[in-house]
Point group: C2
Chain length 142, copies 2
Amino acid sequence: MPGDQTLAETAGLTEIGSLLGGQARLLRLPAQADVRGSLRPLEFSELPFIPKRLFVVDDVPAGVTRGGHAHASCRQLLLVLAGEVMIELRYKQKQANFLLSANGRAILIEPEVWSRQTYVGEGSVLLVLASEPYDDDSYVSG
Amino acid sequence: MPGDQTLAETAGLTEIGSLLGGQARLLRLPAQADVRGSLRPLEFSELPFIPKRLFVVDDVPAGVTRGGHAHASCRQLLLVLAGEVMIELRYKQKQANFLLSANGRAILIEPEVWSRQTYVGEGSVLLVLASEPYDDDSYVSG
């Protein structure tokens, strides 16, 4: 159910791990793969929030770090579509790192979770779905 | 305004062309680019439909063609995030081809527009936003 805190049990989208005491969750998007390639569907009704925007980050030189902030109330789903991106997360006294690659793993982060992303190689592409429209005032540096 | 037929005039998202008598439109997503890379935001309120799902297609061998159908009522936004994909479109007696690459160009297609995609090189990634949840009955082959 959109807006519900839990992921739909019947969905193709599956929760496969929890980080930072549940403030971040590792998800897996199933693929429909055959000799013609791989298609990964994501029904927004399967997410615990309704996306209001997305952004794509690319053309990042290898080794560059971006982000380094939290959001006061925005929830985000981070998905790597090419290459590899190291995701650093912090919430209160907890921290976690996770290397996202283009294999259908995604990280769902709750508000107030600080995140920083390091683009490991050339050609990495990060897709982020956000629960709120862009708001410059929502940024919380840490 | 979500659901309106026109794109918001004030939006960063810009219409830069029309195909098939207006049944397909070429859009440009502006980038915030600097030495750290490029970020392309897309506020869903700028689109003429509210996305209900997305899908990502990757791992497609060079030269493979996918799609080859229309949808009875679903609208779609096609965006290439890596590599190049040739988009073929048909609507009634009209046809158009457009080579999408990872430069922020996107194609918005209306219902009943037939589309087929040829992945030009290895490593191409296609992102599609759709106005309706998945429905096997919505497919119209042509």
